[in-house]
């Protein structure tokens, strides 16, 4: 499998980051960084990572199914993650979730037909003091209201319009 030069560099660094014989430690970081570029964990990637760290593909498979951020199906170009855990719930996170779901017409872990947005109701993302909070891909947005969310989504749409 051919990886981008950026990913090759990341993988090379990871393989030297752990004690000798402990290259398996690089598995989760490798999968995460590669998923960022590929959009999903493909079977080819599973085999490539397994080969590089000296595991079987099954061992990689076993690990990746445990972690909620690793996924074998592609998400939207913009993955909208809305926290509804306690601090966010108290400040309107559940209503924000409903609003987003209605607006994008997709539910939990669904991808819109055009592949632009996907949606997920997430557990605490570590922004409790600035709730309700969301993440779009890795970007945090604090004190989010339905109106602010609408503007954010519209902004992403127009920024990507050809």
């Amino acid at each position: 499998m051919t990886l981008s030069p950026h990913l090759e560099a990341k993988f090379a660094k990871l393989l030297t980051s752990y004690p000798p014989g402990r290259q398996r430690s690089a598995m989760i970081p490798m999968l995460m960084f590669a998923q960022d570029e590929l959009g999903q964990v493909t079977q080819e990637l599973v085999e490539e990572v397994a080969r590089r760290i000296g595991c079987t593909p099954l061992q990689v498979e076993e690990v990746l199914t445990y972690y909620s951020m690793l996924h074998k199906k592609p998400l939207g170009k913009y993955h909208v993650q809305i926290c509804t855990n306690i601090s966010c719930m108290l400040t309107g996170g559940a209503e924000l979730w409903e609003h987003a779901s209605g607006k994008l017409r997709i539910g939990h872990r669904e991808v819109a037909a055009d592949g632009f947005f996907s949606l997920e109701e997430v557990e605490c993302i570590g922004a409790c003091s600035w709730a309700p909070a969301i993440q779009v891909n890795y970007d945090f947005h604090h004190h989010v209201t339905p109106e602010k969310l609408d503007r954010l989504l519209a902004g992403l749409r127009s920024a990507n319009a050809v």
Partner: protein
């Protein structure tokens, strides 16, 4: 970056560089006493470093509150194995958002804390396990690590000594359970994040089967101040059995929610009313969680005379935990809160131990039924019984973390559970409506 205004009640020790221009850079760090404590520690014997940390009365900031100096002293001196430093930056306890700020605003303070810990046990490598969602912190941390190598604070022959140390970031991939120390170590080794049986504790058998100091970000970040200004000065900031300050994350129904660095032993009422600006919309306080969603809830009446420290909160059968204070006003439905908290634990239970895996799922179903108005009077007792039967019956504290708040909700707010009986709709609806899809689950 800072996401809320500071408070005049803060005592800034760990957050002293927050708000400075380019506060994450080594330039700013070195201009503000950066790596001075490490230089000092280099000239000290390992046992002197540990003694200084013991004197400081620093206790673990991740939730358990174990005395840090004592924990470091458990690392066997004579072990022929390499020793490791592991930083728990898997911050994911609901209500907690402080480690994020410490790394974002002052990553070198964390590196210096790791170096001090490393000197105390002769470790030569350290890993910072950062939760997957905090990707931007990996970039910040990697940049700081590169700067530290350039300036001779990481690598070989540090400051002309024989000491060498390497630091690495490591990303998680979305699992609350990996914030638990032994599950974190499994995850660091490229496995599913399930807990290990203890003893042996990580101090003896930790990362890569070797002796390991594993602490929370905030705990390591306290070390430079302790070595720089002395353990006694740090201890004096807090209360007799708990020294220093605590980054306290105020959230929920407050006028001024935010992360504030408060001395240990800070009065709860003052914290809610003055630091947090009081309950928003002029409402009254109903309840609050003092240290993340795993802690038993406290009522407004219990706030009287209460202070924010490990022992004071243990006396009222709760915990300081991670410092995530969640404040609920008089219009909050406690049954709904109990349900949301249990949905979280049921989702995050790793499934390794049956009492936790089955218990959280059953409790979620029971609480859902209750909140929907289909609960039976006997369910109130059943919820409490189920939760009590989970206590102490699991490899890691996640089972307890799910059970303890649940027991407190049922015991302290039984009237609210009863108000949902006999098919009556939630008295707090529709103002506090649960998302339709939650009800459908």
């Amino acid at each position: 970056m800072l996401y809320n205004e500071p408070s005049p009640h803060e005592v800034k020790v760990l957050t002293r560089r927050f708000g400075l221009a380019d506060s994450a850079s080594i330039k700013t760090y070195l201009k503000t006493d950066g790596y001075v404590a490490f230089e000092k520690a280099l000239k000290m014997k390992p046992e002197e470093i540990i003694e200084e940390v013991k004197v400081s009365n620093l206790r673990g900031r991740g939730g358990a509150g174990f005395p840090t100096g004592l924990k470091w002293s458990f690392v066997p001196k004579t072990s022929p194995k390499p020793k490791y430093i592991v930083v728990n930056a898997d911050e994911s306890e609901p209500g907690t958002c402080k480690d994020r700020l410490l790394i974002e605003n002052d990553p070198h303070q964390l590196i210096e804390g790791m170096l001090i810990a490393a000197l105390s046990v002769d470790a030569h490598a350290g890993y910072i396990y950062i939760r997957g969602e905090y990707r931007y912190l990996i970039d910040i941390m990697d940049k700081a690590i590169a700067e530290a190598y350039e300036h001779g604070y990481l690598g070989r022959n540090l400051l002309g000594s024989a000491f060498h140390f390497d630091a690495f970031t490591h990303t998680g991939a979305g699992a609350y359970e990996c914030g638990e120390e032994s599950a974190l170590l499994e995850s660091l080794e490229g496995k599913r994040g399930v807990p290990r049986i203890r003893p042996p504790f990580p101090a003896v058998v930790g990362a890569f089967q070797s002796p390991t100091i594993l602490n929370n970000v905030e705990t390591f970040c306290a070390a430079p101040a302790i070595l720089r200004d002395g353990g006694a000065a740090f201890a004096a900031l807090g209360v007799p059995k708990a020294g220093g300050t605590k980054l306290t994350c105020l959230s929920g129904h407050l006028n001024k929610p935010g992360v504030y660095e408060l001395p240990l032993g800070f009065p709860v009422k003052k914290m809610i009313e003055e630091v947090g600006g009081g309950i928003r919309n002029g409402k009254k306080l109903k309840a609050f969680v003092p240290g993340g969603s795993s802690c038993p809830v406290l009522t407004a009446a219990e706030c009287e005379g209460l202070t924010m420290d490990y022992d004071a909160l243990a006396k009222v059968k709760s915990m300081l935990g991670s410092g995530g204070v969640v404040v609920m006003d008089e219009d909050t439905c406690i049954v709904k809160v109990a349900l949301r908290v249990m949905r979280f634990y049921a989702h995050e239970s790793c499934g390794w131990c049956i009492p936790c895996r089955e218990g959280t799922a059953w409790l979620r179903k029971l609480l859902q039924r209750f909140h929907d108005g289909h609960g039976q009077r006997s369910d109130i007792v059943l919820i409490g019984d189920l939760a009590k039967n989970m206590l102490g019956r699991t490899f890691c504290p996640l089972g307890d973390a799910a059970a303890m708040p649940t027991i407190s909700f049922v015991e302290k707010f039984r009237d609210e559970f009863e108000a949902h009986l006999d098919g009556r709709p939630c008295p707090y609806e529709p103002a506090n409506r649960l998302a339709a899809h939650l009800v459908a689950q």
